[in-house]
Symmetry: C2
Subunit: 86 residues, 2 copies
């Protein structure tokens, strides 16, 4: 196994709970992911103060997936445009 594929264990805190993330990503990347999830959860909680943590986490996942699909569409459109130009 190449050095860059070495599995790492990184602890992150999401909504006051610690999660151990096992993977090949850098500590900086994993912490950035965790910070963005925390920010999104906090925003959703502020708009919906009575949500329990599970619902809050599910809505955070839905919201992030929505962002992902929109960006994916934009990315694909750009790729199609490039193909047409070449």
């Amino acid at each position: 196994m190449a050095d860059e594929d070495k599995q790492t264990k990184i602890d992150v805190t999401i909504n006051h709970q610690t999660y151990t993330i096992v993977g090949t990503e850098s500590k900086e990347h994993v912490e950035q992911v965790a910070n963005l999830v925390n920010e999104k959860m906090q925003d959703i909680r502020e708009a919906n103060k009575h949500l329990d943590t599970t619902k809050l986490a599910v809505l955070t996942a839905l919201n992030t997936m929505n962002d992902y699909l929109k960006l994916q569409k934009e990315h694909e459109e750009l790729l199609t445009l490039l193909e047409e130009e070449n």
Copy 2:
């Protein structure tokens, strides 16, 4: 408010629980988002059978945010490349 900005309420089922999504997205888009979140949750549950629902939802959010950041990086690299070419 323009017609295309009309707020809709769409019920989706995530992990056997119903969520009402309020927004301006089409029913098809919201259902696609929900299906992808469900699939991801199921994959994570299969790899970690003893997770409670909250942890499962948080890990799904983290995993989706990880995908988002990777795609964002790829998209930005493509945009930079295009700017350099022009």
